[in-house]
């Protein structure tokens, strides 16, 4: 059964068309992540699902009930906001209990549920504090507590971790993942952080300019992107794009370098394409890549160590590309090296349609 079903949803802000016809089906218990660049309409879509924005056209069903025109309170949803949205005049306990009391739960039940949610989030000792007496991470836990204390059909998160520092964000991400495993509820999570998207999602919905560009499991999108946009959006560092021309056996780069493409057939020789190479699929000559690679001599331009790996910038076919190499493979700019490129993992992009070939 699907907990959320969106059909041909449009949202206009005056003359501005923010959501341009979205169809989405979220099965029960799934963790769906809406991801995309800033301004693509993620928050708008989420807020329309919540009923905080009015639908311009299309329909929304939650738990099998058409709620397109229902008030937020009648939609059976819980939501966590980016800026926590805690009531400063209520202590942690009353903040968490707010939704239950608004729905007239018996006080004994409220006590029980608040205690359980607080324990789950490790904030049991903070119940009598006020929001201003909490750290950012604690505030976010309270905000999450306020959502999970209720039995909603749908739990919505709008960039809940974006105000936290990097370390805390990693911890909270793990926490949210654990909560989802424990609660087995349907969650929709908005972020523009692709790491959050990759690590949390059962399914990623990648938005662009108010439309779904592609949806699928994280690995699906990472390994089988359908467009250049998807290929470039997921992955860190980003996929390298090198202009090239197709030949019978592979591609030819702008400077004449020929690279073989094993296991590909039916390529139209002479067609202009973009060659997409992930930094992870490039290695120092002879290190660890499997068969199907081509070996290319390069000169290192820039070295950015990340500790466990090193991101090396080098020219290839007239553009700069980034390769993720072993921590000790290269050490300084100007160094001459040979790299292996795993051409079995390379993607080819039609330059006119930006679709993957």
């Amino acid at each position: 059964m699907s907990d959320l079903k969106i059909t041909n949803l449009h949202k206009h802000y005056g003359a501005f068309h923010a959501v341009k016809g979205i169809d989405l089906d979220v099965p029960s218990g799934e963790f769906t992540v809406l991801v995309g660049p800033s301004g693509c309409g993620k928050s708008t879509l989420l807020r329309t699902i919540a009923g905080l924005e009015e639908t311009s056209s299309g329909s929304i069903e939650i738990g099998g009930k058409d709620v397109t025109w229902a008030r937020p309170r009648d939609r059976d949803i819980a939501m966590v906001f980016q800026n926590y949205a805690l009531y400063p005049y209520l202590n942690v306990k009353d903040n968490i209990a707010f939704g239950l009391r608004a729905r007239k739960f018996a006080e004994a039940e409220v006590e029980k549920r608040v205690a359980r949610a607080a324990e789950m989030l490790g904030i049991g000792h903070l119940l009598t504090r006020f929001p201003r007496e909490l750290s950012g991470g604690q505030r976010q836990r309270v905000a999450i507590g306020r959502a999970i204390v209720r039995d909603a059909i749908l739990y919505l998160f709008d960039e809940p971790l974006s105000n936290l520092d990097a370390q805390l964000r990693d911890d909270m991400r793990v926490e949210i993942k654990r909560l989802h495993k424990e609660l087995k509820r349907t969650m929709i999570y908005v972020t523009h952080d692709q790491i959050e998207a990759m690590t949390l999602a059962d399914r990623i919905v990648l938005l662009r300019d108010g439309l779904i560009e592609q949806q699928g499991t994280p690995l699906d999108l990472f390994e089988r992107p359908k467009t250049r946009f998807v290929a470039g959006f997921l992955g860190s560092p980003k996929m390298n794009f090198v202009p090239a021309t197709l030949t019978a056996a592979g591609v030819k780069l702008a400077d004449g370098t020929a690279l073989e493409l094993p296991g590909r057939s039916g390529l139209k020789a002479g067609q202009a394409v973009m060659l997409g190479l992930r930094p992870q699929h490039i290695a120092m000559a002879g290190t660890h890549l499997a068969k199907g690679h081509v070996r290319v001599p390069v000169v290192i331009e820039l070295v950015q160590p990340t500790g466990s790996r090193v991101q090396a910038t080098m020219p290839l076919g007239g553009t700069s590309i980034i390769a993720e190499l072993g921590a000790h493979d290269v050490s300084r700019p100007g160094e001459k090296a040979e790299i292996d490129i795993d051409m079995t993992r390379a993607v080819l992009i039609d330059t006119t349609s930006d679709k993957i070939i």
Partner: protein, 279 residues
């Protein structure tokens, strides 16, 4: 170059400042002191020359007369008029302000039109209102004055509350809506607590406006709901002890305001500075 060493010079400057401060305190407090002290004097002491700076004995006969003759009831009238009209102005004003902010009711223009109503000089409307009230039979009634004070305070309340409500983060209200509140519940459970300081500050000023009103009360009352401000003016005349009554009545009129401000001081300061940050 001064001959005094640095710390001595500092000391001199400090004592000079204290002297000035003390002088200012005396200048500002003296009229208040004089008002209070006159109300406790005997008629002889009031007219004595040189003036009696401090009476022999504090005596309450001036107040006793006011209470015995029923004049003190006019303070009660003022209290009823000011508090009831403040209560209604705050309720309707806050609801209207919320509507202006959240639903953009009437666009930009309605809000400006509302505050422009406040700029009307009261004296320009008091006589038309008198004629209207005569026709309606509202002259010299609590109801009539409460309606008038409420109406006259509304633009101020709406304008102030609009500023305070605009400062409330939208997410707080949206969160409450999702959590199961209706709009009215949001107003009650989120907006009011969030705007509490501003609400109290606005209420105090609204109360003081009605409390101190003289013009409307003078024109629109006769004998039934005379306010203390009008009552004070009745003592100008031939009576021998009118200064005593004026002073005592003024003290009675000052005390409620004094206590209101003292109790609300915390909110007043915060409420006023809250508005100062935005809008």
């Amino acid at each position: 170059m001064s001959a005094l060493p640095l710390h001595r010079r500092h000391g001199v400057r400090l004592s000079f400042r204290y002297l000035i401060a003390a002088l200012l305190v005396v200048i500002f407090c003296f009229p208040v002191y004089w008002l209070f002290i006159i109300s406790f004097k005997t008629p002889d002491e009031i007219f004595a020359f040189p003036p009696v700076w401090y009476p022999e004995s504090i005596q309450f006969s001036n107040y006793k007369v006011l209470f015995k003759d029923g004049d003190a009831a006019t303070v009660g009238n003022s209290l009823i008029l000011a508090s009831v009209s403040t209560f209604f102005a705050m309720i309707f004003g806050t609801i209207a302000a919320y509507s202006l902010v959240r639903f953009k009711t009437g666009g930009e223009n309605l809000a400006v039109w509302i505050i422009s109503q406040r700029m009307m000089p009261p004296v320009a409307i008091v006589f038309p209102i008198f004629l209207l009230y005569v026709w309606l039979g509202w002259v010299d009634s609590y109801f009539g004055l409460i309606i008038l004070y409420t109406a006259f305070s509304l633009p101020y309340v709406i304008w102030m509350m609009r500023g305070y409500i605009e400062d409330i983060p939208l997410e707080l209200e949206e969160s409450a809506l999702v959590d199961g509140c209706t709009r009215w519940e949001v107003l009650w459970k989120v907006v009011l607590p969030m705007a509490r300081s501003g609400l109290f500050a606005t209420a105090v000023f609204t109360f003081i406006f009605a409390w101190n009103d003289f013009l409307f009360a003078l024109v629109l009352t006769r004998t039934e709901v005379t306010t203390y401000t009008v009552q004070v003016t009745h003592y100008f005349g031939g009576q021998s002890n009118f200064w005593a009554k004026i002073a005592a009545m003024s003290v009675l009129g000052t005390i409620p305001v004094f206590f209101t401000v003292a109790v609300m001081q915390r909110y007043l300061v915060r409420g006023i500075s809250m508005g100062a940050v935005k809008g």
